[in-house]
Amino acid sequence: MIFSELYSVYYRTVAKILSLVVTAETTEKDICRQISENAFSESVLTILPAFKEEKWQLLDRELTTSILHEPTMPLTLLEKRWLKAIMEDPRIKLFDVQMEGLEDVTPLFTAADYKVFDKYTDSDPYGDEAYIRNFKLVTEAIRTRRPIRITMTNRNGKEVWVRCFPQRLEYSEKDDKFRIIAAGCRYSQFNLGRITTCEFYNGHGPWNEVPRENALREVVLEIVDKRNALERVMMHFAHFEKQAEKVDDLHYKVRIRYYENDETEIVIRVLSFGPYVKVIEPESFVNLIKERLKKQKECELV
């Protein structure tokens, strides 16, 4: 259903090559450039000979074509069904989307067909007008590289404001929240949902805030492969840059790279595996685990 040559890199690359050929004089070098820019690393070994040997009868040996128009293809039913499904998602309100021609299309899925069962319940308010306005202003600021001024309530209940250059919006599936990733500001992340006002910053004062560094760190874990722990750990940490090695039939060592900001989260994620995962290094991370275990022991669990 999804795996079809209609969506393939080869078809797309050939469409680009034919577009080029029908609109301008094209050399073999131009074709090779299209292949290397659009297809896979070894595709040039297949696509070019297929034309030259006239296996794909779209270009002849002189690299001319009988094709008259720049290639286009209507949307497939699958694409329309997926588009219809996302048009029914409440988050689509964050985007100014005008879409016609989907009226008679059955969505590929609806909210009743799936459940993200372990995401947190305090999702961002996607239907809230002020939130939608802030979201759109931030996206425009990112595109136009303009600074913004945001106000929010800090953890002590006090209203604070900051100015920054938003770089991108980071979405966490687990939190179901957007964060602004910012530059030119001491703090590099702001929860979009906690922002009370957001506007373009038009001030001219000096701007010399130094961002806090969010360094990459590394932790090494030893996994005891009991109760399918290896598979669970590797899947759980799959979205990090990591490297694994087998120590013996029961033990594996995994090196995971994470951002300093996320250290507390990594600590509790490691703890969730109980005794099947042991932190080997660095010592500072081992101590974070030990600290929690010491406190737990002091709880005198009943």
């Binding site: 079809s4 329309k80 069962f117 966490s172 010491k294």
Partner: protein, 415 residues
């Protein structure tokens, strides 16, 4: 057969990519593939698609190949490239571009005979050895494209005319596609749509983003399709404890997606066992949609009822007893974030404050064991356990003792 970057069947590559990405510690000799050549071909293909993410290490057993991706940096799932590597024949690609060139606009319509005539006369005649495209080949391709929604037929008298469907303007959807292609189920379809637009840098990045799920997109899409038709399916399921996959007849009810362990499940009714069970999507293959299931709505309503007591994906259709889970955590005066954590992570449970510094969590669930990893995240502040499933409670207590020993807490030797 000569090596090709493209593949006909996704299943084999699905398994290799998962191995390279999720595990990545096996050497060439450890892959239980039928032949070393098969391993070499798959490795070469993946390197050709995902060379930037491919890493190698040398161990005593040999060279290990693995994929390493920092998902917070990648704005688009690199694994989508694998879905764009479907093989095709010389005829397929030639016919594809010629058909859409002939039917270049939705206003152009032609009969099969006319199309064949134009192909032979205007498109193939100039080649030294023109490809032979008989009527049935062209008809088959047109029929395939009608099913894909790319072409339409119109009848005028006894003549059947073919024309392309209308083009859709995607210019307002770019940002939405950048986002939903990563955040919505079957996001690879969004990636196909993005390929139709001019390349533009996405303004989004993603955290807690499990990219392996896309390898099961075809299975998921077919299951969604079956659900929209309220139909049964036949699937092949590979049980972890068995070597050979088993064919099962199921009524698919809902897809369950985890944002914390990277797994995706199908919750489905199995008539022969009269049971609603969960099936991991990465273990399913060969989905075939069958007959309409008259009880679909009733079964889905039953699942919704069961969800009140499901922590994860385990449920019991005719459970006589639920398992009671209760634990108490200590919360310091400056630790409001723990109370927030309990509130937003409690799922089907309840949280109540029992005194100034203690909060109690309670839940009635089908399977206590599913909750254990979450409960462990509160280590350092748990003051009380009370589970009706004593086996799980004792296991949790034993595990804690094991961890104390493991880290040499209270002067013990580190294990």
């Amino acid at each position: 057969m000569a090596y090709s970057e493209l593949v006909k069947n996704f299943d084999k590559i699905r398994a290799y990519m998962r191995e390279f990405y999720v595990y990545g510690f096996k050497s060439r000799t450890e892959y239980d593939a039928k032949s070393a050549r098969s391993y070499d071909d798959e490795r070469r293909r993946i390197e050709s698609w995902l060379g930037d993410y491919m890493r190698f290490t040398q161990t005593a057993e040999g060279k290990n190949v693995f994929l390493s991706v920092d998902n917070r940096v990648s704005q688009h799932n690199p694994f989508y490239k694998a879905w764009k590597a479907k093989s095709f024949t010389d005829r397929d690609i030639t016919l594809h571009f010629i058909i859409f060139d002939i039917l270049h606009d939705a206003s152009v319509k032609m009969t099969l005979k006319e199309i064949i005539g134009v192909i032979d006369r205007d498109y193939l005649a100039s080649f030294e050895e023109p490809m032979s495209l008989d009527e049935s080949t062209v008809r088959k391709k047109l029929k395939e494209y009608i099913e894909e929604g790319l072409l339409l037929t119109e009848k005028e008298g006894r003549q059947v005319y073919y024309r392309r469907t209308e083009m859709t303007d995607l210019s307002s959807v770019q940002d939405a596609l950048d986002y939903f292609s990563e955040a919505a189920p079957c996001g690879v379809v969004g990636s196909y749509l993005l390929d139709r637009l001019a390349a533009d840098e996405s303004i989004f990045s993603f955290k807690h983003h499990y990219i392996t799920g896309t390898l099961d997109s075809d299975v998921m899409a077919l299951l969604f399709d079956a659900m929209s038709k309220k139909s049964c399916v036949t699937v092949r399921n590979l049980n972890r404890r068995e070597n050979e996959p088993k064919e099962l007849q199921l009524v698919p009810l809902k897809i369950y997606i985890s944002t914390q362990n990277g797994r995706q499940y199908l919750l489905a009714y199995r008539e022969d066992l009269d049971r609603i069970s969960s099936y991991r999507l990465d273990y399913l293959s060969a989905v075939r949609i069958g007959a309409v299931c008259e009880q679909f709505d009733a079964l889905r309503a039953t699942l919704c009822e069961l969800e009140k007591h499901m922590w994860g994906v385990n449920c019991r259709l005719h459970a006589k007893h639920l398992e009671h889970v209760e634990f108490v955590v200590r919360v310091g005066g400056d630790e409001a974030f723990i109370v927030q954590r309990l509130a937003r992570e409690k799922r089907c449970g309840m949280v109540e404050q029992i005194d100034e510094t203690h909060y109690r969590f309670t839940a009635e669930v089908f399977d206590t064991m599913e909750m254990v990893p979450w409960i462990r995240t509160f280590i350092s502040r748990i003051t009380q356990f009370n589970f009706s499933n004593r086996t799980v409670e004792n296991k949790l207590r034993d595990d804690l003792e094991w961890m104390y020993r493991m880290y040499g807490i209270d002067g013990g030797d580190e294990a």
